[in-house]
């Protein structure tokens, strides 16, 4: 099983009691709480941590993107990919990912991902996501078009990478009369495509049909298994076999020299589960963004919001794994056995988890955990 290091690049640099005054940290917490000096230092710190993860042997570095939220100030997945393409040597760069429905120019996106792939020597894994509702508000893209735009944007990016230009694109949401990108990915026919899932059965079926690597994020095991079933259904429709190589899972994880230290560090993930997901339903699911099936599945997938779970419960349910390297390797093996996955993505940083703790965790993962789970 391959391990991926992921930092959301959070900006938890304001008093929590200030954050508590607003209906949500997303969209509503005024950006006067954005501390420019701390952000400048944090970006450099987060990149240092990514670079260590590359050196110690992580199979991949996962990069994401959000907007208008202190939970993730990585506002450009492709920008971070471009930096890491140059400063890392070995690990895959897993973009998970670019938010397609809010993108107005898929051609530029195709070019940017291609450029990161070229600079990195063909290490890009290109994830495509629908985004959470917050990104819809941020971009003002109509949520009722979310799925249509996701699929059409994807189709156009793929065409940019695989069809000889120049060509014309007249779709429902995208219109380009002269498409001829002078930047194509190093990997042929194109970088592998990954898709995350949190609740939408349609996305799982779609990813299965196209044979993309599919990664549920922070859901209970039984829900992940159910989503994998939808994935298999899509794959079967297209006559594709499914191997662990196509299945991944995302959790939060940290290790340390002692159990006590790891458990103390892991407590920082509770902020990500709770306060950063707090907010009105409309922020996360604006009208029409989810299909009826998606809405129903979401209710089932989250009988309890992560925000209402204690640290102990989050650990018991494997949303957070924290322990010595041996314990962590053992838990990772358990997740692998439960889900039959080939990729485990570790959200392994929180801004209040200090740099030294984060670096030590990355180092221990490299020296002890990665070798222990590599053969699984």
């Amino acid at each position: 099983m391959k391990l991926y290091y992921f930092s959301e690049m959070p900006h938890h640099e304001f008093p929590d009691e200030e954050g508590d005054k607003y209906p949500s940290l997303r969209l509503e917490l005024p950006n006067r709480f954005f501390d420019r000096d701390k952000a400048a230092a944090n970006y450099r710190r987060y990149l240092d941590e990514y670079e260590l993860a590359d050196r110690v042997g992580f199979d991949g570095l996962m990069i994401n993107e959000h907007h208008s939220t202190p939970s993730c100030v990585n506002v450009g997945a492709n920008m971070t990919a471009a930096v890491l393409a140059r400063t890392t040597r070995r690990a895959k760069l897993l973009l998970l990912g670019n938010i397609l429905p809010i993108e107005d120019n898929p051609v530029r996106m195709a070019e940017q991902i291609a450029m990161a792939d070229l600079i990195s020597g063909g290490r890009v894994l290109s994830g495509f996501v629908r985004g959470v509702g917050v990104e819809t508000w941020w971009s003002n893209a109509n949520p009722v078009h979310n799925r249509e735009r996701f699929e059409e944007c994807h189709d156009l990016i793929l065409k940019c990478w695989t069809a000889p230009g120049p060509f014309r694109w007249e779709g429902r949401h995208y219109h380009f009369r002269h498409v001829n990108p002078w930047c194509l990915p190093l990997q042929q026919p194109h970088p592998p495509i990954w898709v995350p899932g949190t609740a939408s059965p349609e996305t799982a079926v779609w990813a299965g049909r196209l044979g993309y690597t599919y990664v549920p994020f922070l859901v209970p095991f039984d829900i992940a298994r159910e989503l994998f079933e939808f994935y298999r259904r899509g794959a079967a429709d297209a006559g594709r076999p499914v191997t662990p190589e196509q299945l991944g899972f995302l959790i939060c994880a940290v290790t340390a020299d002692t159990r006590a230290k790891a458990l103390e560090a892991g407590r920082h993930f509770v902020w990500r589960m709770g306060p950063t997901l707090r907010g009105p339903a409309e922020f996360f699911s604006p009208p029409g963004m989810r299909s009826r099936a998606g809405t129903q599945f979401a209710l089932k997938a989250r009988p309890r919001s992560l925000a209402t779970m204690s640290y102990e419960e989050l650990v018991a349910e494997h949303f957070i794994i924290a322990g010595t390297p041996d314990e962590v390797a053992d838990r990772f093996a358990h997740v692998q056995r439960e889900l039959g996955i080939g990729h485990l993505l570790l959200e392994a940083q929180e801004s209040r988890m200090d740099h030294a703790t984060t670096m030590r965790s990355i180092e221990l993962m490299g020296t002890k955990v990665i070798p222990a789970v590599a053969a699984l």
Binding site: W137, N140, N142, P143, V144, P280, A281, E282, F283, P286, P287, G288
Partner: protein, 254 residues
């Protein structure tokens, strides 16, 4: 209508009056409609994508809805009807008038969206919970005669599903530019039909200043502002509202 089933409430006697509902959906045969239907044949269709009408996922904006209803006027053989529209229905009526002023008789625009307010903003109704939006829609529920009948009970699951579908279609039609057409003001002076604009002084959804803007832009418009009234004049003050409408349609005002 070319593949889209249109549910409509129809009744009354007299010349046809086409009634176009707001984003909250078609509330049907309410008290003000009953009054007005004593003198006019009321046609109150449910917009495509709302309530009992069929889907129209291909629609992109209120201009599409306006073209749809101009066609509806032909298909239903309404001749040259009066048109009364509330909120996004008022905006739709204004767009219909701009496209084909000769096809319509008199216009009643009730707190219509459609213009960017010179001051203030149109409330982002999709950003807030339906419960919060309802609070902001009405000035004082205690004064609304039909409050219990319309909003009193806990909604059934079917009603919740309809409300979600209504919201989705409203979002489809009005998302960007939000609730207005930046070019509408350029065309309104074409509309020389007699027009009555009605607004609630306490409207917290579409600022009352938009009423002044419509009045300035429409050559034959009068504006009536109701005191102690929010965004739903026909529901909040049904008797006053029905009287205003009848006086105007019968040519006693405007």
């Amino acid at each position: 209508m070319n593949g889209v089933d249109v549910h409509a409430w129809v009744g009354g006697r007299g010349d046809p009056l086409l009634v176009l509902h707001g984003a909250g959906g078609n509330r049907g045969w309410t008290r003000w409609v009953e009054r007005v239907a004593e003198r006019y044949t009321v046609w109150a269709p449910t917009h495509p994508g709302f309530g009992g009408s069929g889907d129209a996922d291909w629609m992109e904006g209120i201009d599409d809805l306006a073209r749809f209803y101009l066609w509806f006027v032909d298909v239903a053989r309404l001749g040259r009807p009066h048109v009364l529209g509330h909120s996004i229905g008022g905006w739709t009526a204004a767009e219909m008038a701009v496209m084909s002023p000769g096809a319509l008789a008199r216009l009643v625009l009730v707190a219509p969206a459609g213009l960017k307010p010179e001051t203030g903003e149109i409330l982002d109704v999709f950003y807030y919970s339906p419960a919060r939006v309802r609070e902001l829609t009405v000035h004082d529920p205690a004064t609304v005669p039909e409050w219990d009948a319309l909003f009193g009970g806990a909604p059934t699951s079917a009603e919740l599903e309809t409300a979600a579908r209504n919201r989705e279609m409203a979002a489809r039609l009005t998302w960007k530019p939000y609730m207005h057409n930046p070019r509408l003001a350029r065309f309104l002076p074409r509309v020389t039909n007699p027009a009555l604009i009605v607004w609630g002084r306490e409207d917290r959804i579409v600022p009352a200043v938009c009423g002044e803007q419509y009045r300035r832009l429409l050559p034959r418009a009068t504006l009536t502002v109701l005191e102690a009234c929010g965004h739903l004049p026909p529901i909040e003050q049904p008797d006053t509202f029905a009287r205003l409408v009848l006086d105007f349609l019968e040519g006693r005002t405007g």
